[in-house]
């Protein structure tokens, strides 16, 4: 039973007909199926037939998907497609390309042939209590009760500390307050850092995206769209950022195909797919 077409990338007609000859079958996809182009417009899908279930999101499968996208990118402008995209049949595939044609053609012109770099900045210091092994899992019901208790305490604690010293509820409240303060400090630091990075790295990039404090230990996640000719300068600028911010742990990854800069479809994608946010704007 054919389950459909697994799509790796979008290419323009020049790549489909030029440097890459689909008939050679020199790119092998999932289930060892040959990778071919589908469609005949300005934006075509690079896909392979899939008979079995959709490939699971394992590191090995992710690397295989990525290897095909990168092999295509070496031959010409390419847009990377999200992992796990399976379309039921050729008709669905053609309709899907037609629906997004304008976005895809514009993205190919803007992003095709460009690369992106990822920058992760870890917050400088964490107490041992932050280590995952020390995180205590509290059943939701207990946590809710403790929270109610703290909420009641919070009206009186600051003005009138108890005569017998802080009790467990007060200690919990203080820990919560300290935690909120750390979150706020980290978010503020992330925004300052984003501005500083934009000054240094942005000069060598075409576009940039920032997510401030996307996860507990992550101060900043930044992504830069870079012309391949400027990658050496971009890397040198990153080295400068590292030297200037020795108190932080800055990690660079790339060059990647421009996954982060493709135009999102008009309809929103399932919000469960997004990284957990810690609401830095509040």
């Amino acid at each position: 039973m054919a389950s459909g077409y697994y799509v790796y990338a979008i290419v323009g007609p020049e790549l489909a007909a030029g440097a890459w000859s689909p008939e050679r079958g020199d790119l092998v996809g999932f289930e060892e199926s040959p990778v071919r182009t589908f469609g005949d417009g300005d934006a075509r899908a690079v896909a392979s037939c899939l008979d079995g279930p959709r490939p699971a999101a394992t590191p090995a499968n992710a690397r295989r998907h990525e290897a095909i996208v990168e092999a295509l990118a070496r031959r010409g402008p390419v847009l990377p497609v999200r992992f796990g995209t399976v379309l039921a049949d050729a008709h669905t595939l053609a309709r899907s390309l037609a629906t997004r044609r304008d976005d895809l053609v514009a993205d190919l012109a803007r992003l095709g042939g460009k690369v992106e770099f990822g920058v992760l900045v870890l917050a400088p210091a964490w107490s041992p209590a932050d280590q995952p092994g020390n995180i205590q899992i509290t059943p939701d019901a207990n946590l809710g009760a403790a929270h109610d208790h703290v909420t009641r305490l919070s009206a009186t604690t600051d003005a009138a500390p108890g005569p017998g010293g802080p009790g467990p509820g007060t200690a919990y409240l203080r820990a919560r307050q300290a935690e909120h303060q750390r979150e706020a400090d980290a978010a503020a630091a992330a925004r300052r850092l984003a501005a500083a990075l934009d000054d240094t790295l942005g000069a060598h990039a075409l576009e940039s995206r920032f997510t401030a404090h996307p996860a507990r230990r992550l101060l900043l996640r930044a992504t830069y769209l870079v012309d391949p000719a400027a990658t050496d300068r971009f890397r040198a600028a990153f080295g400068e950022v590292r030297r200037r911010h020795r108190e932080l742990r800055c990690l660079l990854s790339g060059p990647w195909p421009p996954y982060s800069f493709v135009t999102a479809p008009a309809e929103t994608v399932d919000s469960k797919l997004h990284w957990p946010r810690h609401n830095p704007s509040s």
Binding site: A57, V81, L104, G118, Y259, A264, H274
Partner: protein, 76 residues
């Protein structure tokens, strides 16, 4: 003594998964990933970042002090 930069490789995998699973062209008719897949990635993020921090702390600490002078050196 230096600690190998294995965490750099882990971060590269993390960055790869983040891009492939959460970014890239979305075609109409695409099925979103199962929640279990995403949970797996979030777990991976926590583990990778924890190990990265730990390695960094160790590097920093060893650069600054002899091991015997570190307070709480036996807390592991």
């Amino acid at each position: 003594m230096t600690i190998p930069e294995d965490d750099e490789r882990d971060v590269t995998l993390l960055e790869l998964l983040d891009r492939l699973l959460d970014k890239g062209v979305v075609l109409t008719g695409d099925i979103t990933l199962a929640v279990a897949d995403v949970d797996l990635i979030e777990l991976g993020l926590r583990l990778v970042l924890a190990s990265t921090e730990r390695a960094h702390q160790l590097r920093t600490a060893r650069a600054a002090f002899p091991a015997s002078a570190l307070p709480g050196a036996a807390d592991g």
